[in-house]
């Protein structure tokens, strides 16, 4: 397709809009998939959506047509210069269907309307995604995808994979199902005690698990929500040197 010189030519000269829209779309899509920084991904997302909007607006372009607002001669209220309350009533009866010859004078309004909607949907998505980014940063201290994946993997293996092979080991003592983030204070002391159990400790918890299994697991899993602030604690020492390097 591309080797065909005429199409290439046609694309570049006559349909530059369509060509550029494809390029922008690809840039955005590539950024969404391959960029490492989550904010960059979102900027890519916006570029992607804008490219689609450009495509729609290009559909609506009509040679020799003006913007989709009635010119004074077609205005249902007549010229706006003479608009006052009495005359509005009079002139409003004069509104009539545009004759077919006048229709090509105006651009098709429909793509524009659709794109107004798309723009607003785009900004709503952007805002929501940014708030998710902030939440991720709150929990994991990073918005870089590779670091985030690493931390998530560590967390997941602690939660399920780890207890898969070994006995469920004791971690932070249960905070009785507290809501997200409220158990922030007082975490430091518990963390030093229980986050990295020594082998001896693990042994101890193992023997205890045997005696009353489910009870222990209840304690373990009620941390499901509470143990997430932990990475925040871990973040600061981990983050500082990295910043210095970069």
């Amino acid at each position: 397709m591309f080797e065909d010189g005429s199409i290439f030519n046609q694309l570049l000269v006559e349909r530059l809009n369509y060509f550029i829209y494809v390029v922008l779309l690809l840039i955005g899509l590539w950024a969404m998939i391959a960029k490492n920084n989550l904010i960059k991904k979102l900027i890519g997302m916006s570029i992607f959506q804008t490219a689609i909007i450009l495509f729609y607006v290009s559909i609506g372009v009509k040679e020799g047509a003006t913007i989709p607002i009635y010119l004074p001669e077609h205005d249902p209220h007549g010229s706006h210069a003479q608009l006052d309350s009495n005359q509005t009533e009079l002139l409003s009866h004069g509104a009539k269907v545009l004759e077919a010859s006048a229709v090509p004078n105006y651009t098709n309004p429909l793509p524009h309307v659709l794109m107004l909607t798309a723009i607003v949907v785009g900004v709503a998505t952007l805002g929501l995604a940014l708030s998710v980014c902030l939440r991720i940063y709150r929990g994991y201290g990073t918005v870089e995808e590779d670091e985030l994946l690493e931390k998530l993997e560590r967390e997941d293996s602690r939660k399920s994979g780890g207890s898969n092979k070994r006995r469920p080991r004791r971690r932070t003592p249960a905070n009785k199902g507290g809501p997200a983030g409220q158990s922030k204070r007082g975490q430091t002391t518990e963390k030093t005690k229980s986050d990295k159990p020594t082998p001896r400790r693990r042994q101890a918890s193992k023997s205890r698990t045997k005696t009353n299994g489910p009870a222990k697991e209840q304690a373990k899993s009620s941390n499901r929500e509470n143990d997430k602030p932990k990475p925040v604690k871990r973040r600061r020492p981990a983050r500082k040197p990295k910043e210095d390097k970069s």
Binding site: L16, N17, I20, V23, L24, I27, G28, A31, K35, N36, N37, I39, K40, L42, I43, G44, S46, I47, T50, I53, L54, V57, S58, G60, V61, K62, A65, T66, I67, P68, I69, T107, P111, H112, V113, M115, L116, I119, V120, G122, V123, L126, G127, L130, C133, L134, Y137, T142, V143, E144, D146, E243, S246
Partner: protein
């Protein structure tokens, strides 16, 4: 002809600016460049006769999106790794 040249110029600039906003490492700069992108887009649409879309893009894309992006970046790390 003049309009066509204008059109072509903006289209080329758009690609440059889009790449630039993804290439820059500083996220605030990236957001501002993205605002430029939105604004160029808005000019292009105004030229193509889509005045309402251009107006919306100017307020939403170049305005609120950028403010919101920068507001978020201020709560995050400003430097991106790529």
């Amino acid at each position: 002809m003049g309009l066509e040249l204008f059109n072509t110029l903006i289209l080329c600039l758009l690609v440059v600016v889009a790449v630039l906003s993804l290439w820059v490492r500083d996220l605030v700069v990236s957001a501002v460049v993205f605002a430029i992108y939105s604004f160029l887009m808005c000019l292009l649409w105004a030229e193509m006769g889509a005045v309402d879309v251009a107006f919306t893009e100017a307020t939403v894309g170049a305005g609120v999106s950028t403010v919101v992006l920068i507001a978020t970046v201020f709560n995050l790390k400003r430097k991106a790794k790529d």
